[in-house]
């Protein structure tokens, strides 16, 4: 499995997309035969995975938007991306 670092540029895998769960009002990630219920943080991270932005850029944007420290955010972001990469729902370009 590829290693994710600050320079990785993540993007959702083919056939995977974000959607809203009308039953709960919460964001979800949909893919063939499956669903992942997302936390608001995970949704904020994934909606920035556009194959252009690096992990560093995503952390910086989130840090500004949520007024949180980059160091704390970076750990969360990496953990979230690693989990989804392991499930092949996210790829790195």
């Amino acid at each position: 499995m590829p290693v994710i670092d600050e320079r990785s540029r993540p993007v959702l895998a083919r056939g995977t997309r974000l959607a809203m769960d009308k039953a709960t009002g919460q964001p979800v990630l949909l893919f063939p035969e499956g669903v992942v219920h997302l936390s608001p943080t995970a949704h904020a991270i994934l909606s920035r995975c556009d194959a252009e932005s690096s992990v560093q850029a995503i952390v910086a944007a989130l840090s500004q938007e949520y007024e949180a420290s980059e160091t704390e955010l970076k750990a969360d972001v990496l953990q979230c991306l690693e989990e989804l990469c392991a499930r092949k729902l996210l790829i790195l370009v």
Binding site: G15, D21, K22, V28, P32, E33, K88
Partner: protein
């Protein structure tokens, strides 16, 4: 406890160009004409409002419906994830592009074998070459491709070749789906069930392949419940996550629930989907755990496997409320085991010999 549905299986038609003898469609078709485009659009909209996230367009062969792309577009507009579950017969370049433009998210194509000769013999028609063409087309258009191969005694010996075949075709997912014995498959089970040795061999090959292809192609293989000690958690529980609308508009808690005699299904022509989900007798009959007899009622696994499959209980014991005989604790276990034992000697290891299929009843189409 309130349950909400996640997946709608939209069985658009029972018509199909293939005649596979393991088809899970009912061996006697329900009366009534197919739903109209307007009916389906309403059903899809209602499903989305209820919280459904995925819609699987299935059948029969869903490509037999000329309004398929229109229904896919309606589902996408309603926010649903759309999957086409197809034999791929009828998936021309024009049709595939139309579906892509409608927003179709993913495609699952069935293959009967990795070889044309065996594949066509099982499908009861010359289908294999056309499927190959369609699978390449699907990958070329950028759809994620799942290949589904239903396994039985005539093709399970080719598991290694089948896995290589799926990988070469560019599948992202391979479902090695052991036949489930309902509908036509139940009728043919004495000629389809693999032997114990075949299953053991297939399990070894599948677990090795899962590791070998990890990260490249996801491989799903579940030991058939006839050979397992625990029942499958059928539908993740009756009326908990899943609903099927059949071609005539009946709403079923599982695609094969029509096997249960005496269970009456409400129809989307006379009720809303949401009423049927929450209020109808069919959905409430086996929901939760209150209906369970012992040994299920007091079993520590009752929320893990939900007593297994109601259709299987009905088919094998005559009582849809009984513990699934696939469970080692079922009082009817012996009925299943004696059937399994009776199959061991009739399975030859040499694959499909000429004339081997003579005992199979091939699926017929519903009357026009």
């Amino acid at each position: 406890m309130n349950y909400r549905p996640y997946l709608l299986l939209a069985e658009l038609t029972h018509r199909c160009p293939l005649h596979c003898p393991y088809c899970s469609n009912p061996a006697s078709y329900p009366a009534g004409g197919e739903l109209t485009t307007a009916d389906w659009r309403r059903v899809i909209g209602e499903a989305a409002e209820m919280g459904v996230l995925h819609v699987g367009f299935s059948g029969g062969e869903p490509l037999q419906r000329v309004d398929l792309a229109e229904l896919v577009a309606a589902a996408r507009t309603a926010g649903l994830y759309t999957n086409l579950i197809t034999s791929a017969i009828g998936l021309s370049p024009g049709r595939a592009e139309e579906l892509r433009n409608a927003g179709l998210d993913s495609v699952q194509i069935s293959f009967q074998s990795d070889q044309a000769e065996l594949g066509d013999a099982i499908a009861g028609t010359r289908a294999h070459a056309r499927k190959l063409e369609a699978a390449r087309l699907v990958c070329g258009l950028g759809f994620p491709l799942t290949i589904n191969v239903v396994l039985h005694r005539w093709n399970i010996g080719r598991l290694e070749e089948i896995i290589r075949f799926a990988e070469e075709l560019g599948a992202e997912r391979l479902e090695l789906a052991n036949t489930q014995y309902y509908g036509w498959a139940f009728r043919n089970r004495g000629s389809l069930l693999p032997s114990r040795n075949q299953i053991a061999g297939a399990e070894r090959i599948a677990s090795k392949a899962k590791v070998q292809w990890a990260g490249k192609m996801e491989i799903l293989f579940v030991t058939p419940d006839y050979y397992s000690k625990r029942p499958k958690p059928c539908m993740n529980g009756w009326g908990r996550r899943f609903l099927t609308v059949n071609p005539t508009g009946d709403v079923l808690p599982c695609p094969t629930a029509g096997e249960i005699k005496g269970l009456r299904f409400d129809n989307v022509r006379s009720h809303s989907l949401s009423w049927i989900w929450t209020e109808s007798d069919a959905f409430n009959r086996f929901r939760g755990t209150q209906w369970m007899p012992d040994p299920c009622r007091s079993c520590e696994f009752r929320e893990a496997d939900f007593g297994g499959c109601r259709c299987q209980a009905a088919l094998i014991t005559g009582d849809p409320g009984a513990t699934d005989p696939a469970c080692a604790l079922s009082p009817y276990r012996e009925k299943l085991l004696s059937f399994v034992d009776s199959c061991q000697d009739s399975v030859t290891s040499g694959g499909a010999a000429a004339g081997a299929f003579q005992t199979l009843a091939f699926r017929e189409n519903p009357p026009a």
